[in-house]
Symmetry: C2
Subunit: 111 residues, 2 copies
DNA sequence: TAAATTACTCTATCTGTCAAAGTAATTTTT
DNA sequence: AAAAATTACTTTGACAGATAGAGTAATTTA
């Protein structure tokens, strides 16, 4: 399983990405992450909603209550233009981080 | 500058890598990281020593006081076999993480 | 001998992730 | 219709890693 320290700092980006594709609600995002990663990563519920609130406070996403339900009312999130810009920055940052970490974590294994 | 959340979880690996190459002391490691990353990343002093103590507690490294000095006595660190094994695990983990994050942070930018 | 340099330590704070327990609304079962 | 199951979101509190900042220690240089 993937440790929280390793994924830390990337969750905002992952969730923004999914919301950029289309408006989505919590459970949907949670399931989508599990599916796309072949269950190699599942976001924890508490974490997911913590991310939503953080992103909403930063005005990177906006929420509205949806009409279609199969249980409790769904809260949908949509991206803001600030959110798109932020996501694009994160893509660039990821390229740099990859390079840097590869400097130390690539190459032959050590006996 | 690289955010602490992004690098979090990789610092142990980076430092282990440098100690695997040869026995090293704090300042040396700090400088080596700056050099290799072209100053794109500098480890903070407090962080560096926090990592040393964490790794030593986990018995991934061992320390001894060196003789050559140019100021305060240097504390050298050497890798243990547990440390090497741990590092090799971290290499594998990094490959997986890269794949997963790439799923969400690659591809065309969004307008 | 005072200042500069090299090197390590300690404490306190902040932030993101997460477990656990709870609330809310709708559908299915008995 | 009441109870149970399901879907979905919220809140609280704990924990660990990164870091600022201040301090300590030992040696060299001015």
């Amino acid at each position: 399983m993937i440790s929280s320290d390793i994924i830390r700092g990337h969750l905002d980006s992952i969730i923004l990405k999914l919301i950029i594709e289309k408006d989505r609600y919590g459970y949907e995002i949670s399931n989508e992450i599990s599916t796309r990663t072949n269950n190699r990563f599942q976001i924890k519920e508490a974490t997911l909603y913590a991310v939503f609130h953080r992103l909403e406070n930063k005005e990177l996403i906006e929420s509205y209550i949806g009409d279609v339900t199969h249980g409790r009312k769904r809260k949908y999130y949509k991206i803001t233009s600030l959110g798109k810009a932020y996501y694009n920055e994160k893509i660039k940052e990821w390229q740099i981080i990859k390079e840097i970490i590869n400097l130390f974590l690539e190459g032959s294994e050590n006996e």
